[in-house]
Subunit: 587 residues, 2 copies
C-alpha cells in the first residue's frame, strides 16, 4: 500500500527547489542526483520492508511497564541498529564526525518517508539524533567521544528531558535540581514526565539531555542548565553501572502507541550523576537548537501521517463503488472518487500534504544554505528559517488532524473501524499540535517575537522571497488572478501587523497577543499559498497527469483554503478583547 509519493518528493527536490544548487558548495560537492537516488531508494526499502509491516502491530501491542522497566516491540532493537547502520540518525554530520555531509533536504525527506511508513518507530532514532546533535554542538570532546558513536549507531537511545509535572509549556518553572560536586559532575534530583523513549529495552543505555537548575541559580529560564544524564553511567572499568534514573511509569496514550512515553525519577538515592553540557545557566539556549530542529521535524512527522492517511483514502476511493455521480444513469454505479464532494475531501488532503511538504522542503533548503554561507547571506537564511519555523511546525500539525479526519470520512463507516488505517492516523496525528510547543505557544512566538524582531527584518526578507514567486506568477495568465488575490491578502495582513504592533507600543500586550493563534493560522495560509504558487509555476507548462494535478490542487488551495483568511482577518481585526474579558465564573 502506498504511503507517500516519490514522484512528488522528486518534484520538490529537483524541480521546485533545485537541489543541484547545493553541489556547488564544497560541503555537498560529493553529492549528486545519483547519490540522492540511492539514499531515497534505500529509505524506501527500509520503510516498506521493515517499518510498514509493524505499523498496526506496534499500535495494538503497545509498550508495557513491567518490573520497573518499559518493554517495547521486540523488533525495535533490530530497527534501531538498522537506523544506525543506514546513517538514518547522523547522515548530515561531517565526514570527520562519521557522517555523510548529507543535505537536510535529503535527510528530512527520508525522515518524512519513514514517518509515513510508521511514525512510532521513527520517534526512537529522531530523539536520539536530537540528543546527539546537542552533545555534538555543546559537549566537551570527552563527551563527544564517549556518547556520539553509540548514539549515532543506534545502540544507545537519546532523549530530550524537559517537561516536569508542574512545568510543561512554562519551562522556567522547572525544579529538577543539580548539586555541584568536587568530582566535577552534578547530583541530579527531580522528576520528568512525558519523556519520549525515556526508557525501553531495545537499547543498551539511554542518555537523557536534561534541563535542571544548579543550586543557587537565578529563578526562571535564565537559571536552567543542560546535562547529559545517562540511565547507566561508566563504572570506570569499561562497564556500566546504574545511575539512579528510575522509571516511574508509562503514559498510555491515544496514538503512536509504539513509542513509549516515560515518567522518570532521578536521584531517588542521591546518586544520579549529571554531566554539564555547554555553559552553566545557558541550558535553554542550547536546548533551543534541538527544539528548532525538533519543530521542523514535527512538521515533517505531521505531514508524514497526513500523507499515509491520504494515500489509504485515495486507494479506497478508487476501488469503492457507491451511488451515482450526478448526471449519470441509474444503472451505472460510480466509484466514489467520481463524486465531487469525495474529490473535494481528497483535494483537501492533497493540498495539505503536498503544501506542507513543500514548505518543509523550503525550510530544509534554508537550513542547508545556512551551513554553506557566511555573513549577511547566512544571516538571511537563518532569519527566514527562524521566521518560518512556527508555521512549518504548526500548519502541518493542525491541518494534519483535519486531513486525517477527511481520510476517515472518505471511507465512511469503514473509516471508523480498526480494519482500515485512517483511524490510527487520526489518533496519531493529534499529538502534533501539542508537543514541541503547543500551537498557542507558536502563535505567540510568531507574533510576539519573530515578526517584530529587528524591526521586522525577517518579515521583509520573507516578503522579498514571496515577491519573486508573485512576479513570476503574474506573467502567467492562469496564475495571475491567484497572484493578485495573494497580494491583496498580504496587504491586509501587513496592515493588521501594524495595527497589532501599535497595540504593543501602547503597552496593550495582552490585547495584541490575544488572537496570536489565529494570526498564526492566517499567516500560514499566506505562506502556504506562496508554496502552492511556486509548485504551480513549475508544473504549469509540463504535460502529464502529475503536473495537471499539481495545478488543479493549487487552484483548489486558492479557491477553498486561502479564502478562510477572510474570516480570520475579520476576527483579529476587531480586537474585541472578548477572550480577555471573559471571566472564570462566566463559564
Amino acid at each position: 500500500m502506498q504511503f507517500y509519493s516519490r514522484r512528488h518528493l522528486d518534484f520538490l527536490l529537483s524541480e521546485v527547489f533545485n537541489i543541484k544548487q547545493l553541489s556547488t558548495y564544497s560541503l555537498f560537492e560529493d553529492h549528486n542526483t545519483e547519490t540522492y537516488k540511492m539514499v531515497l531508494d534505500a529509505c524506501h526499502d527500509l520503510s516498506t520492508n521493515q517499518l510498514r509491516p509493524l505499523l498496526v502491530e506496534m499500535d495494538v501491542k503497545e509498550p508495557q511497564f513491567e518490573d520497573g522497566r518499559i518493554k517495547v516491540h521486540p523488533k525495535m532493537k533490530e530497527l534501531m541498529l538498522a537506523f544506525g547502520e543506514g546513517g538514518w540518525i547522523g547522515s548530515p554530520l561531517l565526514y570527520e564526525e562519521g557522517g555523510q555531509q548529507m543535505p537536510y533536504m535529503i535527510f528530512n525527506a527520508t525522515m518524512f518517508v519513514m514517518g509515513a511508513a510508521n511514525y512510532s518507530a521513527t520517534a526512537f532514532p529522531f530523539l536520539t539524533a536530537g540528543a546527539a546533535n546537542l552533545i555534538r554542538s555543546f559537549g566537551t570532546n570527552a563527551q563527544k567521544d564517549y556518547y556520539l558513536p553509540k548514539l549515532y549507531a543506534g545502540k544507545w537511545q537519546g532523549t530530550m528531558a524537559l517537561t516536569e509535572p508542574d512545568a510543561g509549556s512554562s519551562l522556567g518553572d522547572l525544579t529538577t535540581a543539580a548539586r555541584p560536586t568536587e568530582q566535577g559532575y552534578y547530583l541530579i534530583k527531580g522528576q520528568k514526565v512525558f519523556i519520549s523513549c525515556g526508557d525501553h529495552d531495545a537499547v543498551d543505555n539511554i542518555v537523557h539531555l536534561m534541563l535542571a537548575r544548579i543550586e543557587g541559580a537565578p529563578k526562571g529560564t535564565k537559571g536552567i542548565s543542560l546535562f547529559a544524564v545517562p540511565r547507566m553511567r561508566a563504572d570506570g572499568n569499561g562497564g556500566l553501572e546504574f545511575n539512579d534514573v528510575t522509571t516511574g511509569g508509562i503514559f498510555h496514550k491515544m496514538g503512536y502507541k509504539g513509542a513509549p512515553i516515560a515518567h522518570l525519577i532521578t536521584g531517588e538515592n542521591d546518586d544520579c550523576r549529571g554531566y554539564l553540557v555547554g555553559q552553566a545557566h545557558r541550558g535553554l539556549n542550547c536546548m533551543f537548537q534541538m527544539m528548532n530542529e525538533a519543530r521542523i521535524a514535527v512538521g515533517f512527522n505531521a505531514a508524514s501521517i497526513a500523507s499515509a492517511a491520504y494515500y489509504s483514502a485515495l486507494e479506497y476511493c478508487r476501488e469503492r463503488p457507491q451511488g451515482r455521480k450526478i448526471g449519470t444513469k441509474p444503472a451505472d454505479q460510480s466509484l466514489i472518487i467520481e463524486h465531487a464532494d469525495v474529490k473535494r475531501l481528497l483535494l483537501f488532503q492533497k493540498s495539505i500534504v503536498e503544501g506542507s511538504l513543500s514548505l518543509l522542503m523550503q525550510c530544509s533548503l534554508y537550513a542547508d544554505l545556512t551551513r554553506v554561507t557566511t555573513g549577511e547571506e547566512k544571516a538571511k537564511y537563518e532569519a527566514l528559517l527562524d521566521l518560518l519555523t512556527p508555521i512549518a511546525k504548526t500548519y502541518p500539525s493542525e491541518m494534519g488532524c483535519l486531513s486525517t479526519s477527511a481520510a476517515i470520512q472518505c471511507l465512511g463507516g469503514y473509516g471508523y473501524t480498526n480494519e482500515y488505517l485512517p483511524q490510527q492516523f487520526y489518533r496519531e496525528a493529534r499529538i502534533h499540535p501539542i508537543h514541541e510547543g503547543t500551537s498557542a505557544i507558536h502563535g505567540m512566538d510568531l507574533l510576539g517575537r519573530k515578526i517584530i524582531k529587528d524591526q521586522g527584518k525577517s518579515l521583509r526578507l520573507l516578503m522579498q522571497e514571496i515577491n519573486i514567486t508573485l512576479e513570476k506568477a503574474k506573467s502567467e495568465q492562469l496564475l495571475q488572478p491567484n497572484a493578485q488575490q495573494l497580494e491583496q491578502y498580504i496587504e491586509q495582513i501587513s496592515t493588521l501587523i501594524m495595527d497589532l504592533g501599535g497595540l504593543g507600543m501602547q503597552g496593550e500586550f495582552e490585547k495584541m497577543m490575544a488572537d496570536a493563534t489565529l494570526f498564526l493560522e492566517a499567516f500560514s495560509l499566506i505562506v502556504l499559498a506562496w508554496q502552492w504558487l511556486k509548485q504551480a509555476e513549475v508544473a504549469l507548462h509540463k504535460a502529464d497527469d502529475f503536473y495537471r494535478g499539481k495545478v488543479k490542487t493549487c487552484q483548489y488551495f486558492f479557491s477553498y483554503e486561502l479564502p478562510k483568511i477572510e474570516g480570520l482577518l475579520k476576527t483579529i481585526q476587531q480586537k474585541s478583547a472578548i477572550t480577555i474579558d471573559m471571566q472564570n465564573n462566566y463559564f
Copy 2:
C-alpha cells in the same frame, strides 16, 4: 465530575423556549415544571450513579465476539432494564400505549444528559426506541402487541438494519432478498453490516427492523420493504426458537466501544422469517421516520459528547497553574484559565455545546408542536423541522470533533493520555459525521431538496422565525450590530441560493451541488447565530454570572465563528468546478 449544565438545560427549557406553553395542549396538560423537574432529577441520578461510573470501563473492556455471539459489558443487562423501567425508552408515547405523553423537549433533554454521561450505554435504548417507534407507526396490531411491551421495557433490543457491505450511503443498491411464503411471512436472505447493537447478551432477544427487497420488486429505492426480523422467533408454544440470524462478526472501532457493531447474516439455512411492517415497497418511507428522529438524536449525542469534553477541560483549566498571564508578575503563576488563548478554546467549546443544544431544543419544540397542532400550523412546524434536521444533525457532529479536539488542547500533553477523558471523547465524537447520513449526504439533502422544496416555502418560514429574533435584537443596543451583521449574511446567502438555483434550472446539477457540504456549513452558521441571538436576548438584562457568560459567548460566536461564513461564501460563490474537473489520474 460535571458532564453537563443543568442550569443551561433549564435556561433553554424555561426561559428561551418556554416549555410551559405546551401544557396548554391537552396532550401535555398533566405536565408542569414540577413533573419535568422530577424527570430531569431522576435522569441525573441514573446518569451520575449508573452510567458515568462505566464510561471508561466500557471503553477499555470492549465487547467481544465469542462462539458466534457478542458479549457486552455485564452491567448492560441491568442498565437496559433500568432504561425500560424509568421510561427512558418510550416516555413520549400516549398513555394508552404505556407512555407518559412526555414532550420531546424533555425526552431529548434526558437523552442528552445520559449521552453526556456515557454515550455507548445510551446507544442500546436509543436504537430500541427507534425500532419500537417504527412498529408503533406502521406495524399491525398483532405486531404491536407482540413486540412493543418487550422493547419499551428494555427486555428486547431493537435495531435499524439498513447497511450492506455494498450499500451504505446508496441504500437503493441493497440486495437482501425477501421471498413471500404462503404462511404470510417472508424468507429473508442477505447480509447486513454496521448494525449497532445488532447482537449482544444483555437482552433476551433482538428485533431487527430490516430493509430488504421482495422478489420481483422494482430496482432502486422504490423496491425496498421494511421487515421485522427477530433473532429468535415465537415457536408457537409460548417460547422462542432460532430465526436463522447469524452473527458474522463484530467491527472493532475507534470509539464508543461499549456499543457493539455487528455483521449479520440472515437466511444461511433458508429459515429466516421476516414480517412485513407497513406496505410492500414502501420501506424506505417508513424508515425515513426513524431516520429523521435518529438524525436529531445524533445531533443530541454529538452535543452530549462535546459537553462532557468541555466540562472535563473546564475543570482542568480551573485547577492547573502554568505560566503567567500577560501583564502579571513573574512570581504569580496563573491558572491556565486566565490565559486569553485558553479562554478562547473554552469559549469555542461552550459556543458549540450550548449553541447546538439550543438548536436541538428548537427542533424538539417544533416536533412537540407537530403533535398538538393541525392543518397549516402543523404543516409549518413540520416544514421547519424538516428543513432544520440536516443542520441539527451535522453542525453538532462536525463541530463536536473540533470541540473535543479543543478539550484535548486545553490539557496539553495530559489531554493525549488515557489518564484523562478528552481523548476518549475525541474518539467517540468522530462517528457522528458518518452515521445516519454523512455530512455530504445532508448537504445534498439541504441544498438539493429541502431549500428548494415547494418553491422555497420552508426557507421562507425559517426566515420569518429568524426575523422575529432579529427585530427583537435590533431594539437592544448591545445586540444591534450582531443583528445587522446576521441580516447582511442572510442577504448574501439568499443571493447565493438564487445563483445556485439558477444553475439547477439550467440543468447544471453537478455544478449546483458540488459544494453542497460547504453550503450546509455556511447555512448552519446563520442558523446557529440565530440561536445565539435568541439566548442573548433572554440573558441580556439579567444579572448573574450565568447570564453574563451567555452574552459573552454570543459575542464570541459573532466575532469568532460567524465570520467563517465569509470564506465559505466566497468559495461557493466562485462556482469554480475545480472538484468536478479534477480527474482520478491527477491525484
